[in-house]
Symmetry: C2
Subunit: 274 residues, 2 copies
Amino acid sequence: MPQNDDLSTFDAATAVTRTEGGGLLADLDPGWDVGGGILNGGYLLAVAGRAAVLESPHPHPVAVSASYLRSPAAGPTPLTVVPGTAGRTLAHSLVTLGDPDEPALIVQATTSTLTDDPSAYSQPMPDVAPVEECFSLAEHAHLAPAGVQVPGLSLRVDTRLDLATAGWAMGQPSGEPVIRAWMRFADGREPDPLALVTFADALPPSSFALGNFGWAPTVQLQVLVRALPAPGWCLVEARASEVAGGWVDEDYRIWDSTGRLVAQSRQLARAPRG
Amino acid sequence: MPQNDDLSTFDAATAVTRTEGGGLLADLDPGWDVGGGILNGGYLLAVAGRAAVLESPHPHPVAVSASYLRSPAAGPTPLTVVPGTAGRTLAHSLVTLGDPDEPALIVQATTSTLTDDPSAYSQPMPDVAPVEECFSLAEHAHLAPAGVQVPGLSLRVDTRLDLATAGWAMGQPSGEPVIRAWMRFADGREPDPLALVTFADALPPSSFALGNFGWAPTVQLQVLVRALPAPGWCLVEARASEVAGGWVDEDYRIWDSTGRLVAQSRQLARAPRG
């Protein structure tokens, strides 16, 4: 259940308000970190997405691409939105998060009005164990491999790893860079397009499954939101396709509780040292 | 072989020059169209990528994300590059193609210095027929389904469809939205990172394999370049994962002639009418 009044933890942490001067302001929440005071990239992208829809005739982000220039500190942070073309179907804008002279994120946002209309074609959900047979990251923090700290993100996003892709959490990396988990907000807030933007960067690096437990900072991340998700748990899968030259990718697909593909993301990250 | 002096058709068509006033200028080539005078999105993104590396300490685009605001006309077109953070490993910039007041493309570019160092992990190439057993789009233009015109792009990028995914070209759509083809420049110019940016949007829409032959205009496209490609043919695969609500995605993976994954892309496009 949401914690204070009607506002969920996520909605409070991603709120964007208009200042008296007409500017936009977020108050970045230190609780959405991935360790070491570094805020999660999907959380930051959801804040930028909220600014984009605030300035758009359309209510939903459908495509957001971010370059991560600097890691922003928690606390009050300005945002700017420069509108692009806008029409009945979609609107473009360019969102900057952080000091305009030294931005942390630059985000291209496309907004539209999503529906839950049935798909003409939808990639099926992979076979996965039911939620109750999966492995809670938060509940097993004490079992984490040496050097791996369970981040604040994992306390706010309830992440239940499919044991078939969680060998690394038990000291037995599979050697295949794939991680799958059921996901929902810990306070029970139901998923929506902005939640999917956060879920699309909320799994541990899939290079953990290669036995490589370093941090993999995001350089550029694109998230596509494809439909309004149904209430309940989402299945989130991350997969790396190439690890080379100091770079790694993460390719996410997210299905809602009805088994419908509702979001995709791809990011380029710096590869953790092995 | 390159057609005039040392400059290949692709290099000539994507050339970016500096004007006496210090600005950047491209001369968009009408020959890189997808039909109806519409220039290919991957071609336009390669022009923007060339501007990005021209203004970067690094020679290669590794991540480029574009929003397609307007379809630009062929002919002289200004570009602007706003630099972001830059370091020894990578540099960010924001590239605008077209009239700054009414841009056609806005592109976030990350540049770096790629190598052909071996991969720590690389997704293997799918099974595919050898080039000589594949289907040349250009050579079979007269067999195209009613309403499908072979675009200029297909004459400049030699595209050899794997028959296993080319049923739609013979009036027998497979019902699975996947298209695979061997690809190289028709004039024999070898692939490089900018070529991969173009290849990453050069296949027919994979919705053709659903029997839906409409045009699918790109809304937002991200291309990741992962390594310097070896000389020879590249294998390019496009796959849609969700077709719904007037939207379709295209997910590309590109392997070089040694079987190494060298590029990935994902785009959100408007779905063609069925």
